[in-house]
Amino acid sequence: MSTGLAALSTGFKGFARYLGGVLGADAYTKYLEHHRQAGHREPPMTEREFWRDRTDRQDSNPQGRCC
C-alpha cells in the first residue's frame, strides 16, 4: 500500500515538475545553473531581479502565440 502511495506521489511530483517546465517555472533554476557553469565572476541576479529582467525583456521582444 505504502509503496503504491509512494509511486503515486513520485508520479504526481514528476507531472508537477513537467508542467512547471512547460510553464517555464524553472527558468530561474536554469539561469543559476548556467551562471555557475559559465563561470561568471559577478554574482548572479537574485530571483526577484531575474523575473523582473525576464518580463521586461519580453516587452521589447514579444513571443508569438498562435491561433
Partner: protein, 766 residues
Amino acid sequence: MAETPERRNGSSRREGAVATDPVLPPAAVDEDVREAEERKWTPGKIALWGAIALLGGVAWFMLAVIRGETVNAMWFVFASVCTYLIAYRFYSKVIERYITKPDDRRATPAEYKADGKDYVRTDRNVLFGHHFAAIAGAGPLVGPVLAAQMGYLPGTIWIIVGVVLAGAVQDYLVMFFSMRRGGRSLGQMAREEFGVVGGTAALIATLLIMVIIVAILALVVVNALGESPWGVFSVGMTIPIALFMGIYLRYLRPGKVMEVSIIGFVLLMAAIIGGGIVAETPWGADIFTLDRVTIAWGIIIYGFIAAILPVWLLLAPRDYLSTFMKIGVIVMLAVAIIAVRPEISVPAFSEFASRENGPVFPGALFPFLFVTIACGALSGFHALISSGTTPKLVEKERQTRFIGYGGMLMESFVAIMALVAAISIDRGLYFAMNAPAALTGGTVETAATWVNSLGLTGVNISPDLLSQTAENVGEESVVSRTGGAPTLALGLAHIMQQFIGGTAMMAFWYHFAIMFEALFILTAVDAGTRVARFMLQDSIGNFVPKFKEHSWRPGAWICTAIMVAAWGAVLLMGVTDPLGGINTLFPLFGIANQLLAAIALSVCLAIVAKRGTFKYLWIVALPLAFAAVVTITASYQKIFSPVPAVGYFANNAAFSKALAEGKTEFGTARTVTAMEAVVRNTAIQGWLSVIFVVLSIIVIATAVLATVKAFRSRAAGTAITDTEDPARPSRVFAPSGLVPTPAERQLLAEWEKVPADLRFERAGHH
C-alpha cells in the same frame, strides 16, 4: 580534425562534419550503430507496427467505407493516432534522412549561444509541451467545427493527411532551418533567401495576414459572448485575475509560477461558477448582457491597452493561465471522448459537400474546405513560432523531428477531437447554431422551420429542443451562435456531462469551454498585436530611424494604435455585416493563414534547393504546390466568382445594382444602410483578397526562381552562399525522441560518468 577518431564521432558521410572534443564521449550516437538499430526489424517490432497499421486500416475502413446509421467516435481516435504514429515513424524519418540531415555533433544555438535566459537547453519532453502550447490555440478548435457542414469525412481526411504531408512538414523544416541559423525569424530568413523584393513582399503579407487573423479570432470571441451575460462576466473576470497574478509574481512571490497558476486556475473556476449566479440576478443580466458591437469595441480598447501595458502585468500571467488550461482541457477532452465514446450520426458526406451554398460557409468543397480547416492541418502561423522562439531552446539537432513534426501531429489530434465534439451534437441543432440570423430568423420557431426546410436526411428539429438546449447551457438562446466556439462548447458540454455531472453540469461545462477559448484568443490577440507592432516599427524605421528604437514610447503607441485600428476595423466590419460576418470572413482567415504557410514553405524550398537536395525536393514542393493551388484558387473564386454568395465582387455588384435601382431591401439586407454596408464590406474583403494573392504569388515566384538558380549553380559547379551559422562542436548529449533507444541509453551512461566541470566550456564568452 584528423586526430579525431572517425568512428567515435560518427561516420564522415555527412557534409560539414565538426570535430568534437576527444576527451568527452561522443556528442552523437554513432551513425552506423543508429542506422543498424533503425533498420533492424525484430519480430516484436514487426508485430507492433503490423498491429498499428491494421488497427488504423480498420478504423479508416469504418470511417470511410462502412455506411451504417452511426459511427463510433473511437474510430476517429484510432484512425488518427495510428496514422500519426506511422507518419512519425516512417515519413518524418525520410525527411530527416534526406532533407534536414541533423548532426548531433553540432551544437545547437541553445548550447553555443547559451545565456541562461533566451537560449537555454531545454529537456525535449518539456520543450515538446512548451512548443505545443505555443502553437495550439483556438484555431484547431474552430475550423473543424465549421467544416462539419460538409459531413465528417472530408474534414477528417484533410486534417489527418494534411498534417502528415503538409502541416507537420512545414513546422519541422522551419524549426530546423531556423535552428541552424541561430534561431532567426521567418521574416529574416525570407529576406536572406529571397533578397529585397521577395523579402519585402513576405513582410507585408505577414503583417496583413496577422491583422486578418487577429480580427477573425476576435470575431469568434465576440460572437461567443454576444447576449451572454454569463460569458461576459466570467471572461471579463480573467482581466482582474491576470492583473492579480501579475502583481503577485512581480512583488509578492517572484518566480512562484506554479503556485500562482494554481491560484489563478481556482479563481477562474470561481469566475465561471460566479458567472452563472450573477447572470441569474436581474442586475447581473442587466449589466452584462451586451450586444456584439459593444463587445467588439470592448475588445478593441482592451487590445490596445493590453498591448501597451508591460508584459508582466497582463500578458505573462494570462499566458501561464492559458497554458495551464490548454493542457488540462486537451487531456480532459481526450479522456472524455475515450470514456464516453459518443455515437456519431452525421453522414460522411452531407448534402452540402457537393453544393456551393452551405449556410455555415459558402463555396465548394474544393478549395473552401481546405481553407476553412487551416490550423490542425496546415497553419502558416506556426512558422512564426517554429522560427524564433522554440529553436533557441532545442538541446540537440535530432530532437527537432520530435518537437516540430510531433508537436504538429498533436495539434492535429486536437482538431480531430474538436471535430468529434462538434459532430456529436444533433445535426439540426448544428445548423440552427451556425447559420447567420439572416437565415434562421433568430427565434426558435423560425430557426426550426428553416432547418427543417433544408431537407437534410434524418433532420427534424423542434423549437422545444432549441429552447431546452439553451436552458441546459444557461444561455438565452442558441440560435445563430455562429463562429464555431459555441458549437464546440456545446459539443464538449454534451460529452463531458455524460462523463461527469449529468445535465445539471452542462451549463458549467459550456461556459468552461467558452472561457478557455476566449482565454486562448485574447492571448493570441494581445501577442499578435505586439508582434505586428514591432514588425511595423521596424518597417517604418527604415524610413524614419527613430521608430526602430523600441523603447521610444510615442513610436510604440502610434504603431500599436495603427495595428489595433486595422484589426479593429475588420472586426467591426464582421460584427455588423448584414450577411453574417463569420461566413464571409472566415474563408479570408483560412486563405491568409495558408498563404503564410505557402510563404514559409517557399523559404524552405529555397533553402533545401541551396543545400543541393534536389531528389527529395518534392517533400517540400508537394505541400507548397497544394497550398498554393488551394489558396490561389480560393482567392480567385473569392475575387472572380459570378456567384454572389462566393465572389466578393459579384456580391458587391449585385448590391450596388439593387441600390442603383432604388431598392430598399435586397437578399438578407433589410435596409438601405445594410445594403450600403454590404457594398462597402465586400469591396474591402475583395481588395484584401487581391492584395494577399498578389503578394503571395510574388513570394512563391521568387522562391521558385531561387530554386532554379540554385539548381543551375549546382550544375555549373559555382559556390552557393550558405546562410547557416558555422558549425560548432557540441559538448552535450541527449536522446532524440520520447523514449531513448538502447544505443542512446548506452551513450547516456557514458556521459553520466563525465565529471560535470568537463562538460562545458568554461567562461570566456561573457
